[in-house]
């Protein structure tokens, strides 16, 4: 079942086309990753899904309902630029934010108590946010996002600026929410997190969707055309290879993406001539590789079009 249905969405600011005819679907109970370089239009799309700005064209349906004040209550949103009222007490602040999402004050109080206890933050109830450390206020921010127990969670670059402990905590929360059947959409440019967590992805570049679908399927479609090689010896043979792209290179390790024509056995042969090979593995490309090649190709195409 489709939870978030984005159809032919466009948004222009002055002369800049921020989002250009974007369509994707987020399925219920899954973790959906929105990827793309900075300025690709992820945040603008997320803001439109949250009904913070209206689209110029296109349509967003949340559980079949057009995005609006009503659908806002079904979503818990944590923006990239996070913040709270510094002079307000933690408890009062959370009640206010929960009430804005439609909860009654008593309902909100109960849920806030639960979450503060769960995060070991119950003592902070009467402190102002200004008195809290950065890590503490990040926890409060999580609570503010999830306290009204919505069906949909949207996190914009959730891991940026988080300390390692809170990063883990947030990952746990996200996984736990999915187990409860909630739908999660988050944007990021950090691929390892997407590989670890996402079920589906959508890749943005220059305001357009260049790739979307199930993460496993996307990787499979790219084919087993990536070589992981571990060796000991002179690594300069790597520079002689043509029609490849080398990611993740170190003195005794390389991740090599075969572009066209070249046989992976040729690489093995060259490696054996020059070094002692410890490991040679043919794998699906990493998401990072998919990201770089797709975005790279797209950019080349754009340049050609421009010429």
């Amino acid at each position: 079942m489709t939870t978030i249905d984005v159809n032919n969405l466009s948004k222009t600011f002055g002369k800049t086309v921020a989002v250009n005819n974007v369509s994707f679907e987020v399925e219920r109970g899954r973790i959906f990753g929105l990827l793309g370089p900075n300025g690709a239009g992820k945040t603008t799309t997320i803001r439109m899904i949250n009904f913070i700005m209206p689209p110029d064209e296109g349509e967003i349906l949340i559980n079949g309902v057009k995005a609006g004040p009503k659908t806002q209550r079904w979503i818990g949103y944590m923006p990239e630029e996070r913040g709270l009222y510094k002079k307000m007490k933690v408890g009062e602040q959370l009640i206010y934010l929960a009430q804005l999402k439609g909860l009654t004050a008593s309902d909100a109080r109960e849920k806030i108590r639960y979450w503060l206890k769960r995060f070991g933050a119950y003592d902070w109830h009467s402190k102002t946010v200004g008195e809290l450390s950065k890590g503490m206020s990040q926890k409060i921010q999580f609570i503010a996002t999830i306290v009204h127990d919505p069906d949909i969670y949207i996190f914009d670059e959730p891991f940026s600026g988080l300390d390692p402990i809170n990063s883990e905590l947030l990952k746990e929360i996200i996984i736990e929410l999915r187990e409860k059947g909630k739908t999660i959409l988050f944007s990021t440019h950090r691929m390892e997190q997407v590989e670890q967590m996402c079920d589906d992805i959508c890749l943005f570049n220059n305001g357009k969707v260049v790739l979307t679908g199930n993460l496993r399927k996307v990787k499979k479609d790219f084919g087993k055309n990536t070589v992981l090689i571990e060796f000991e010896g002179d690594p300069t043979f790597l520079d002689q290879l043509e029609n490849v792209r080398i990611n993740n290179r170190s003195t005794n390790f390389a991740e090599i993406r075969i572009l066209e024509g070249l046989d992976h056995q040729d690489i093995l042969r060259k490696a054996m001539e020059n070094t002692e090979v410890h490991k040679f593995q043919l794998v699906e490309p990493s998401l990072n590789e998919i990201f770089i090649s797709t975005v790279g190709e797209d950019n080349i195409k754009q340049q050609e079009l421009a010429v």
């Binding site: 949250n50 004040p69 806002q72 949103y77 996070r82 913040g83 804005l100």
Partner: protein, 429 residues
């Protein structure tokens, strides 16, 4: 628009501010300051009536001292029998404040009486001595010139202008124009200050939400127009709370100030055993003429309309700025009309019915300050009041429309303060 959301925003804006130390102190200190000023003035009056200056008169003519003593028997002492040397000694020993020797020449020739004193007493003392001598010597001269009583009376007469107000209903009233002119100016200044200070609250509140980055969280629950309306209403409610407390405090203070001052002065007078002082009138500054209820109602109307007219613009400026320090330049389009109105007010205060006063009091951006000043001082035709109110409501609709367009885009524009060019773009979007 959801009223529930607006109310939630209003409540937060109101409660967080009403509990703030700054608000509580300002609310308390203004009436306390007012009470202190009244207290000091009462104190000065009481003190003044206690102190006496004794001036010895060595009157060689025998005609000047008696009438002076008649004027003020506590001040003037007839020491005509003493030698000048003794008088000097008395002054040196501070037994008397000073002495004046009156000779025939002071009356017949243009020679001024000369006060020899230790230098205490100050201007008020000197001026009252001067005026007493002027009066007495003039009387002596008139008498000597043997002019008819009629002419003497002409000289003694002091012509002032008494005024009475005739209302449209045909009733005559005491005229308080001078008092009301001060009231009018005061009301204008109060509206001027409050537009800036409550407007400033709003600008800073909007910037705070932007710099805290909370605004995007809020915007995912509330429409910008609801947030804007809630903010304006919350700060407006704060303003009304503060003014209600102040008005009640002033009313209370002015009611008790008069009787309190009287009783103070009576005790001090009876302590010094002086009948004249006991009968003293209430000092003029405590004798408040009554302010009409209609003036208070108009003040509230113009205060609220002025606040509404400007507050949405203050919010728009906050949304376009990126930090508190960047608001100066953006503030200009608001500051200029308020400042112009403020300067015109000093003209309006003196001539409330001039063409400049009438026309500018109907211009919506000036009305909150100028119309209330005029209403306090003069009899403003109702069509002028009505049209200024109507124009302000229409202009409010316009500024609200404009501000909500700027605000909607501004609150989500981080990183740099917008230029006027950017703002025009936002409006046209």
């Amino acid at each position: 628009m959801s009223w529930r959301q607006i109310f939630l925003v209003l409540k937060r804006e109101y409660i967080t501010r009403v509990k703030s130390k700054g608000f509580i102190w300002a609310t308390i200190l203004v009436p306390v300051g007012f009470a202190a000023v009244i207290g000091i003035m009462v104190f000065i009056t009481v003190w003044e009536s206690e102190s006496t200056f004794e001036v010895a008169i060595k009157d060689e003519t025998g005609q000047v001292a008696p009438p002076l003593i008649e004027i003020n028997e506590r001040r003037y002492l007839d020491y005509s029998g003493l030698e000048i040397d003794s008088l000097r000694t008395l002054v040196q020993l501070d037994r008397i404040t000073g002495y004046i020797v009156i000779t025939e020449e002071n009356i017949t020739e243009r020679r001024n009486p000369e006060l020899i004193y230790r230098g205490s007493g100050g201007m008020e003392f000197l001026m009252s001595v001067e005026s007493d001598f002027r009066q007495v010597i003039r009387e002596v001269r008139l008498r000597r010139a043997d002019v008819s009583e009629e002419i003497q009376e002409i000289y003694e007469a002091r012509i002032n202008l008494d005024t009475r107000r005739l209302t449209r209903e045909g009733e005559e009233e005491d005229d308080d124009t001078i008092f009301l002119s001060f009231v009018g100016m005061l009301l204008g200044i109060i509206i001027f200050i409050s537009i800036f200070s409550y407007g400033g609250y709003i600008t800073r509140g909007v910037i705070e939400e932007k710099t805290n980055r909370i605004v995007e969280v809020i915007a995912s629950s509330v429409k910008p127009i609801e947030l804007l309306t809630g903010k304006m209403a919350g700060v407006g409610a704060l303003a009304i709370t503060q003014f209600t407390i102040w008005i009640l405090a002033f009313a209370g203070l002015t009611t008790i100030a008069g009787p309190l001052a009287m009783s103070l002065m009576e005790t001090s007078a009876s302590a010094s055993g002086d009948l004249a002082a006991a009968e003293a009138e209430l000092p003029a500054f405590l004798d408040f003429p009554t302010v009409e209820i209609s003036l208070i109602v108009y003040f509230i109307i113009f205060f609220i309309l002025g606040y509404l007219l400007y507050s949405s613009l203050f919010a728009a400026i906050g949304s376009a700025a990126d930090s508190d320090t960047d608001t100066q330049q953006l503030m200009l389009p608001i500051t200029i009309p308020i400042m112009i109105a403020y300067f015109i007010m000093f003209h309006t205060w003196r001539s409330p019915d001039s063409i400049l006063s009438v026309v500018s009091s109907i211009i919506p951006f000036f009305s909150p300050i100028l119309m209330i000043t005029r209403i306090a001082i003069t009899d403003v035709p109702f069509w002028q009041i009505g049209s200024s109110i109507l124009l302000m409501i229409l202009t409010f609709a316009g500024t609200m429309w404009l501000s909500s367009k700027i605000y909607k885009v501004g609150i989500l524009s981080y990183g740099s303060t917008a230029s006027f060019k950017d703002i025009f773009k936002w409006i046209r979007q």
